[in-house]
Amino acid sequence: MTKQHQDKLMITGLAWFVAVVIFFPLFWMLLTGFKTETEAVTTPPSLFFAPTLENYEEVMRRADYFKFAWNSIFISGVATLVSLMLAVPAAYAMAFFPTKRTKSTLLWMLSTKMLPPVGVLMPIFLLFRDMGLQDTQIGLIIVYALMNLPIVVWMLYTFFKEVPREILEAGRMDGALPKDELYHLLVPLSLPGIASTALLSIILCWNEAFWSLFLTTSDATPLTAFIASFSSPQGLFWAKLSAASTMAIAPILVFGWMSQKQLVRGLTFGAVK
């Protein structure tokens, strides 16, 4: 076996190991959802058992899954669109027309992510109460769009920096205005980057569990609240919680699976020139 062959084998083995480590909790959750509550807590845990759908039946009986799922889809989708609409022009300006404060502005934007959300819970809660935004989809959309904005701007900024300025300059020579440059040259050229940014933003919105639990009650509750309702202080709940969690991650998992090509293209965008 040549050295090259050995290295390849080692890297493949390592990749498989990492993949299994990442996938195992998901696999276990999927499996536990089909066990009875007693089987779910038995030690040593059983890998082979008679699968049951009773947890899924119970979960469906106790909560309106589709209402939660629709809220998650709508809120994540619209919040991502809103943050992209704000971030694309911002990142364009920062990438192609930087001033001496651009770098520090970018850092300042990112620094807002360093504050724990609970630090601003009270002001935001009171604002929401006074503006009638509690338990509304629009309220969560605003919070999510603003919460993800720094990351979205940063990602787009790095993607836009990869686009050769000569292409934009050539467009400008042909009489394109900045908006034409943006919409007809830059956006199509960095579409994989924008797509992967959008995907990341959707995933972040989907998984967000602090604001969604505090700012919603029943009408605008997303799937995070759905999961939270299946944890019990007194009584066995792991099997039902696993079934509920599987149902909560299923849509985003399917979505991620379908768009993985875009995601990989986006993440490696500009890596090889």
Binding site: V41, T43, R62, Q134, S218, T221
Partner: protein, 450 residues
Amino acid sequence: MSKCSKTNKWGDIDMGKRFTAAFASALLAGTALAQAETITIATVNNGDMIIMQALSGAFEAAHPDITLDWVVLEENVLRQRVTTDIATGSGQFDVMTIGTYEVPIWAQQDWLVPLETLPADYDLDDVLAPVRDGLSYDGTLYALPFYAESTMLYYRTDLFQAAGIEVVDQPTYEQVRDWAAAVHDPANDVYGICLRGKPGWGENMAFLSTMVNTFGGQWFDMDWNPTIDSPEWREAIGFYVDLLNSYGPPGASSNGFNENLALFSTGKCAMWIDATVAAGMLSNPDQSQVVDTLGFTATPIAVTPKGSHWLWSWALAIPASSDAQDAALEFISWATSKEYIQLVGAERGWVSVPPGTRASTYANPEYQAAAPFAQFVLDAIQTTDPIDNTLNPSPYTGIQYVGIPGFQAIGTQVGQMIAAALTGQMSLDEALESAQRSTERTMRQAGYLR
């Protein structure tokens, strides 16, 4: 470059307007409209609460003008969510599920609606006196008990029989240690005793507070000085650490109620001291593998029976910020009534009725037949006294907690230090000393001490 940015305009106004209009309409379409006679109920995902939710159709059928909207949350999330809501008066909830710890504190803040006029057939005198008192402040009732619990000792009759142990009606902790030693069989995956070890004011400290009480200790003296460094605490916590390290399951410091329930119901524990509410779960063949070998007796005592077993009740209260207080009162009166208990008995079987609240439940022969543990639970609850809770006089109410606003933080912090002593990260003396110091600090900050 900057010249370029200045000479060209950014905004495409028409496009901007089109986007704004499209998004505004999309967002507005998604926002929900409020309904007039809907009452929003915040609750936890406990078995009894789930049954209430499932049977609430009967209430809606009898009250066509009231619609129920359920918000089920994890216990800690519920507490934070409800506290934020009530403290800011935002009125998102009309009925809240809270415990005996919160009721007097929140009532003092005028956060809850006093329940002075209950329906004539409610029969408040039927509600067990300690539970009623636990949900009152200054002689006024502020919440109606949905279910109540104390503690008891569960054991495996088969293992005890094999070891030749005769269980007594009122065991002592010394006896419990001897029994644990006799039945401890880690080679066969059976541990002598399971106790709460997971840090938290409602987890390990709930159990340990009762243990400290019965060893003659208390949280604070009459001047609100913490007494965690007292010999009574040292003896109680030392006994607990030694007992659990010698005869407990591995990783006991991460076991709370649910983890121990899982261990006991799968036959891994020979004994378990915990909430009486577990009796119903351990007697249910769908959830438990030890139904036929389940034995129970009173919570052990040491030097005094005072405060040796706790009193807790999940109760339904109406926040002062609710705008549907009459409808909410209708609902909570129904959900805690004799009629509701009859309904659960008929629909789900008598073993599933919410325990611990009404004398009439325990007088019911059908319940007595279905729940062999009924008398133990009744006795345990009847013998609790949240006021006369410790051997020496104490300035606070509460058995497994101290009824002051800052106790959740204090309890959790002390719980973490005791968990550290259990795992050996700290010595017992270090843990108790630092718990004493941190509690003194918190009490000073809260203005109890100078």
